[in-house]
Symmetry: C2
Subunit: 278 residues, 2 copies
């Protein structure tokens, strides 16, 4: 891992993840219930408003950086001088070293192709993805996958407590390097992308785990981060599958406990074979 | 129900909902697996490109209409002359009677506030919601809710078959009027909004059911459609809860079989009381 030469100045403004509200259940009993936070956070870059994200608020600085990375509004973490979150006004202010050239035109173009069903900027992403091919070399064996799934199971605190969030983890083998939960899966992925830049973490030997469905967007973002393994406990879509085949990602779905379905990129996955003669 | 005076000319271009791909499970066995479709669909209004949606494609015409309704780019179904879907080019062309005034400025303003975690246009929605208050009057009793949950359980075919989709239903009492599944919950909600316009269905005595989480966006959209009951089998977020209280929606979460949690709007909900003396 190589941390950036000049790390941005950051606030550390995580919000409480859950809140308690009263509910009544079918027996009429009062049931104090933990629910996930959800807060508007408006992103400003060099004092220009870019957009408002709805977030759990667990990792707002990494979210802002990862959003700018995944939308390719900034090319390198070194362009970012500071990321300042102020929940009193629901704002995150990013200051860049040289300004973002032509931000207006870039966000305008993006508008037209924002995928409403996916919450992201689809048109541009799709153009880029056609040039991405993930190298071979990395491998993941079945027991390591099972160990990772177990580590994830032990880790998912907010989801278990309050539901209504998606979790994403970045792992090296079975070791979870970072785990982010958010109300939108897009945010959780973006926060991991931001964390990778902040910590100088390369994706090429990593596993990306998500509780969410493997749609086109999730596969595209994993590919952009250069991560060869994408694991989900949920299902996948046809386009997620097609893009995974195209870029050469190892796609594993329905991964829970010691079960999984391996969809693409089998050459990187080592299944435990029964002992010879068994 | 009052259907619009002049119903738009529509294609009926639903895509197949599921596709089969090969996977290998943990035993090494080949497992042909049904997965949900996911297709880019670019919306053009009067030949102007507006955005690209990723959709299952089950109800593309209603989706396009409902998107325009929920983003308030059109004020009435009567403004729409035709909705033509052509999957060969992944496009849905909407023709309006008088053109959309100032579409550029309106979509540009929207850009800045697109909620990346929610896939929708948040800023403008939030401004409007402050003026919405749902009237009392409608009521829902517990046995009707249980009957609806059972009807939903019997209905959710794609989810059961392939996962990776969200389902939404519009119901009158326990009767499901329409049921839409899509890869994004935003799309499923929008398709129901479009269906309501096409069929002239008013929301004021209806129940909106969703498999998805009750985030701010879901509550806002239900309120905009004038629907007093919002039911989910999933959890909710703090902001969804706050907005539900503000607009006076009856919010029921974790609703499965004969269980639920009633969070807000209890005055419209009639719980079965045990018989006197029991």
């Amino acid at each position: 891992m190589t941390a950036p030469a000049r790390r941005p100045r950051l606030t550390r403004a995580a919000r409480p993840a859950t809140f308690t509200v009263d509910a009544h259940d079918e027996s009429g009993a009062l049931v104090p219930t933990r629910i996930a936070g959800e807060h508007p956070l408006t992103l400003y870059v060099d004092k220009r408003e870019v957009l408002t994200m709805m977030t759990l608020g667990a990792a707002p600085e990494a979210l802002a950086i990862g959003f700018l990375r995944n939308q390719r509004l900034v090319q390198s973490i070194d362009e970012i001088v500071s990321v300042q979150v102020d929940w009193d006004v629901g704002a995150v202010a990013v200051t860049t070293r040289g300004g973002l050239a032509d931000l207006d035109a870039r966000t305008r173009k993006r508008t037209a192709t924002t995928g409403c069903g996916q919450g992201t900027v689809f048109g541009d992403l799709m153009e880029d993805i056609e040039s991405i091919r993930l190298p071979g070399g990395a491998s993941l064996d079945e027991e390591t996958l099972f160990a990772l799934l177990n580590n994830v199971r032990l880790h998912e605190s907010i989801y278990k407590e309050a539901g209504a969030v998606h979790g994403c983890a970045l792992a090296r083998g079975s070791e979870i390097l970072t785990f982010v939960e958010d109300v939108g899966r897009h945010n959780a992925v973006d926060a991991i992308a931001g964390w990778m830049w902040l910590e100088g973490v390369d994706g090429s030997d990593k596993v990306f785990y998500t509780t969410g469905r493997l749609t086109s967007e999730m596969v595209i973002k994993a590919a952009q981060m250069g991560i060869p393994f994408l694991v989900s406990r949920s299902g996948l879509t046809k386009m997620g599958h097609e893009i995974a085949r195209m870029v050469g990602i190892t796609l594993i779905g329905r991964a829970v406990n010691r079960r999984y379905l391996l969809f693409t990129g089998a050459e990187r996955f080592v299944r435990r074979e029964p002992p010879a003669g068994a």
